[in-house]
């Protein structure tokens, strides 16, 4: 059997088992999670094959396919392989974690649904990443969206969960329907087949204007899934309400399929004009800076992490943008560096973000509370979880010696190098990106210093919160993610090598030996290990020295924290997350427009005083909300056939018979319209049938020569493919 089929078969079996054995929830969940874990291992193995150069051609497979168009062509090349590793590692640890996390849901039932959905989501992820055919890709893409939708809305009694799930499906479906379908239809029309492998040669002969159009459609369509800045609104709504394993999978892998789609798209184009690269760079910078600023302003643990996903997607997109720009100007080594940084950051972000989500989920699991300002002092009551969260926090801030630094370092390197090679105004883009990346780094540090310090350090703020122990399987799942975070940070050289086959799909290898500084930096990635070793050495020496000094000194008693003269501080007096972040939020208030309600204490014996801060998402409140309200109004107007959108019946209740005194024709029209807007389904169906018949009649009357067209096949495919979905 072909290796790609192995994980899919395992997951399908797992899903079937979970569905059938719903009567025994324990066994059902265990079976499904075993399938996910096993397929995770298989995915990593399959992903490594093309990356280590063992087999590149033998891993493709075509199956029989019942649909009239497309084919079931699965292929795992360098780019797919890299994403397969991402899927494998995250799903393996999520499976481990879910065992501990979902056990308490067993009593509430429907864990078997969760297990089946998890299996299906992982399987569709594998299909999306490995599909080498438009129809198969779109089927996988939609199935993935649906599985994710049901997982987000898993706790469907919670109105917030329903809202998050709907926002997710509306946002991604708008992207798919309005942009991806037309884009793929045009591509298929251009190439004449639905096979991914033919697109590159077909597009080489197309006009540059068509390239730009296709790319823009893809950018918006995939960007809605990945969470590019104005289209990110579903992330902070969906991530916090999903069950934690699902949030980790969503943030770690599902949004990365948007990045995968974008990169796959880039493999088909010849170098795009510079304006596209600049646009991508701007998207990255805006997403990164705003993402982290909004994250800083959040009060909810998982919502904050969701905004950090927006930031990190921004960082990845900066890497892609600089790669596109450098590719266009012919600096292939700089382009390689940029794409290498982006791809490595895809894996790194999947690792540390999944780790952070799982760790945050463990906090919520053990305390039942996700509000940052109510927590505190968890480092003493859940020390292992605190360590794991700290690893994730240091990694996501891009601090050495962990993995986040390596990929950010590569992206910085490509930005610096393209600032060298470009001249004048063209270098402004990279310079601005360097500055914003630096700003993002600083803000991310502030944000995670805030979260870690307020949640895990200090004294517990709310004595009512009871901390229950975290099961071993949850810890094991998190450790599985923390270890590669450290390993990639310590041995970056070998991981940078693994990225190269994926980049070769986009950037051709450099043949003329003009490697230069940029290629030098790829090899210099190995040097980071030495610096990490130096850091470790200093750390060990200082720790030993400190231990010696403290041992020889007289033992001192423990005491209370110095309260600057005040003897009776309470835990409520600790600095809160909101206060900690406020000085930064206030400095960026012209970008964020935070709301601040302050009722200061008054008089000699003040009674009540309060302070509340909220930061609303500008994209959600000022772009999409008015837009969608307008759309809803339009729908209401169509439904009720009035200008106001108010149902006419509502006003007529209680009055005399409205039809009295009307002429017969007006009466019939009124009855028909009334029947239509009452919305009984058979009338709608009748309406559809009537419309179709009318259309056929018109077509038959006006275009008699359609049968003599030269070769209608590609057009036919392009057209019918849209309906097929």
């Amino acid at each position: 059997m072909n290796p790609i089929l192995l994980p899919i078969a395992m997951l399908a079996a797992g899903a079937v088992w979970a569905t059938l054995s719903g009567a025994w929830p324990r066994a059902s969940l265990a079976g499904a999670l075993t399938a996910v874990a096993g397929s995770g291992l298989a995915c990593v193995r399959i992903g490594l094959l093309p990356l280590t150069g063992n087999s590149t051609d033998g891993s493709g497979i075509s199956l029989s396919w019942p649909l009239p168009l497309g084919s079931a062509h699965l292929q795992c090349d360098g780019l797919s392989g890299w994403f397969m590793i991402v899927i494998g590692v995250v799903s393996l640890s999520v499976a481990l974690y879910s065992w501990g996390y979902m056990r308490r849901e067993i009593a509430r039932g429907s864990v078997s649904v969760f297990g089946a959905l998890l299996c299906l989501l992982t399987a569709t992820l594998v299909v999306v990443v490995c599909a080498a055919d438009v129809v198969l890709f779109l089927v996988g893409w939609e199935a993935m969206t649906l599985c994710a939708f049901f997982l987000i809305g898993f706790h469907d009694r919670d109105p917030e969960a329903r809202r998050g799930a709907w926002m997710y499906i509306v946002a991604t479906h708008l992207g798919t329907a309005l942009c991806l379908l037309p884009m793929f239809a045009l591509l298929v029309r251009c190439a004449g087949t639905t096979d991914f492998t033919t697109f590159r040669s077909a597009l080489a002969s197309a006009a540059e204007r068509d390239h730009v159009l296709l790319f823009l459609l893809g950018l918006i369509g995939f960007g809605a899934k990945a969470g590019f800045m104005p289209m990110h609104v579903w992330l902070p709504a969906a991530h916090p309400v999903a069950p934690t394993p699902a949030s980790a999978l969503l943030s770690g892998v599902v949004i990365k399929t948007g990045i995968y789609g974008l990169l796959r798209l880039l493999t088909w184009f010849p170098p795009l004009p510079a304006s596209c690269g600049v646009l991508v760079l701007i998207l990255g910078v805006v997403g990164g800076v705003f993402g982290v600023l909004y994250a800083l302003a959040q009060h909810d643990l998982k919502r904050l992490l969701a905004y950090h996903s927006v930031e990190n997607i921004g960082i990845i997109v900066v890497g892609i943008g600089i790669g596109m720009l450098a590719q266009q100007s012919g600096h292939l080594s700089v382009a390689t560096l940029g794409y290498a940084g982006a791809l490595l950051h895809v894996l790194n972000h999947a690792l540390f973000k999944a780790l952070l989500f799982l760790s945050a989920g463990a906090v919520i699991f053990s305390t039942g509370c996700g509000r940052i300002d109510r927590l505190g002092g968890l480092a003493r009551r859940a020390p292992v979880n605190a360590c794991l969260f700290l690893v994730g926090a240091v990694a996501i801030c891009g601090l050495p010696p962990l993995n986040g630094f390596v990929s950010e370092w590569l992206i910085y390197g490509s930005l610096f190098n393209s600032a060298f090679s470009a001249t004048g105004a063209a270098a402004a883009g990279p310079v601005v990106a360097v500055v914003s990346l630096a700003l993002m780094g600083g803000l991310a540090l502030a944000c995670f210093a805030k979260v870690f310090a307020v949640v895990f350090l200090g004294d517990p703020r709310d004595p009512a919160l009871w901390v229950r122990p975290i099961p071993g399987s949850m810890t094991a799942g998190m450790v599985l993610l923390a270890v590669p975070c450290v390993v990639i940070g310590l041995l970056p050289g070998s991981f940078v090598k693994l990225v190269i086959p994926g980049i070769r799909q986009i950037v051709p290898p450099i043949v003329d030996g003009s490697a230069g500084v940029a290629e030098g930096m790829l090899t210099a990635a190995g040097t980071l290990s030495w610096l990490a070793a130096a850091f470790a050495l200093f750390l060990v020496v200082l720790t030993l020295g400190r231990r010696r000094l403290t041992r020889t000194a007289a033992p001192s008693p423990r005491s209370r924290t110095w309260g600057c003269g005040y003897a009776y501080p309470t835990p409520r007096m600790q600095y809160t997350a909101s206060s900690f972040a406020w000085s930064l939020i206030a400095s960026f208030r012209s970008l964020l427009w935070p709301d601040r309600h302050h009722q200061p204490p008054r008089g000699a014996f003040p009674q009540g005083s309060q302070l509340a801060t909220h930061t609303f998402d500008l994209a959600e409140h000022d772009i999409f909300a008015p837009l969608l309200r307008g759309a809803a109004r339009l729908c209401a107007m169509i439904k009720t056939l009035t200008w106001t959108g108010q149902a006419a019946d509502a006003k007529q209740n209680g009055t005399a018979d409205p039809q009295a005194g009307k002429r017969p024709i007006a009466l019939i029209v009124h009855h028909v319209l009334n029947a239509l807007r009452r919305g009984s389904i058979h009338i709608y169906l009748g309406f559809i049938v009537l419309t179709l018949i009318t259309l056929f009649v018109i077509e038959a009357a006006f275009s008699p020569g359609v049968h003599s067209a030269v070769d209608p096949r590609p057009i036919h495919r392009a057209g019918s493919e849209g309906e097929d979905r």
């Binding site: 505190g376 480092a379 601090l399 600083g442 500084v517 972040a581």
Partner: protein
């Protein structure tokens, strides 16, 4: 050859390790001179460090291992950065292509752990200091990176040891104005990162207005020694970078290179002392504007350099 180079480097490494407290002493002496006082003895910072190392430490019941690890990790990060920063002669021990970014992020690592250690005490005063530290640290980051960009474009290198010295010296005539702006921006970054007037007053005794000092309120014994030494080391490293950018030494200086730089560092410390004696601390909500000024200066420098490379 490499043995010879190593043996020549050893005195410099020792000098760099021993230097930081002396620079603090220079600042203190300058301030004392301005106040008409004698000031503490020259070696007082060393005695202070020694005294702290001999003392035991008192830990708050609230704290965890983070509190104890903070100063150690922070100092280790600074020492690692020191291996890549040219201090006296312009050479580095572990420099490599792209170390500029690592140095900036090592400073950030040190900041992260100091902030966490401060927050670990649960004291609202230390929380305030930590909040200010991350705010001003974040805002000085763009200026720092813009300055790096200017120097990198001027020299075509991404290794700190290569970005300064003779290479910068030969580039100086053509990019002098931009470098002056960079030096201005860097001065602001130096004053911010090392918590000196006009951003923070190290001599204040009101906890509400402190930044660096308030974060170390609960530390004692060897931990406090690490923090004090780390702050001095940070001043030395950033000051050395500033001087390398402001006054690049040509190759023909030869053996006089390192002593001259030592002298300049002393001068820089006294300039900081003069600044501290002659001006007041800014109001805290004015500091972001001060830092934005640094970013604007460095941005202007970047524009100048890019325009130059275009012409």
């Amino acid at each position: 050859m490499s043995i010879l180079r190593t043996s020549l480097a050893i005195p410099e490494v020792l000098a760099v390790v021993a230097l930081p407290p002396m620079l603090m002493s220079v600042i203190a002496k300058t301030k004392a001179w301005f106040g008409g006082q004698t000031g503490p003895p020259w070696l007082q910072p060393y005695w202070d460090l020694l005294k702290l190392c001999r003392k035991g430490a008192v830990y708050s019941e609230t704290t965890t291992w983070i509190f104890r690890a903070g100063p150690t990790v922070s100092l280790a990060a600074l020492l690692t950065a020191a291996t890549m920063i040219p201090v006296l002669s312009g050479g580095t021990i572990l420099g490599f292509n792209g170390d500029v970014i690592l140095v900036a992020y090592l400073f950030a690592l040190g900041r992260m752990f100091m902030v966490l250690a401060a927050m670990d005490t649960g004291s609202s005063f230390e929380g305030m200091g930590a909040s200010r530290e991350v705010t001003f640290g974040t805002m000085s980051e763009p200026a720092l990176f813009l300055s790096f960009v200017v120097m990198a474009i001027a020299t075509g290198r991404l290794e700190l040891g290569e970005m300064v010295g003779p290479r910068l010296f030969s580039a100086w005539p053509s990019i002098g104005p931009a470098m002056l702006l960079v030096v201005g921006a860097w001065m602001i970054v130096l004053l911010t990162e090392t918590c000196r007037i006009p951003v923070d007053d190290p001599a204040t005794h009101l906890e509400l207005t402190m930044i660096h000092e308030v974060m170390a309120l609960d530390h004692s014994g060897p931990d406090l020694a690490f923090i004090t030494y780390g702050a001095a080391l940070k001043f030395t490293l950033l000051g050395a970078l500033l001087l390398h950018a402001a006054i690049p030494h040509p190759a023909w200086l030869g053996i006089a290179n390192a002593p001259l730089r030592l002298l300049e560092l002393g001068l820089l410390a006294s300039v900081v002392g003069v600044l501290e004696s002659s001006m007041a601390r800014l109001r805290l909500n004015r500091v972001p504007l001060f830092l934005a000024g640094a970013t604007v200066l460095a941005g202007l420098a970047a524009v100048l350099v890019l325009a130059r490379s275009h012409a």
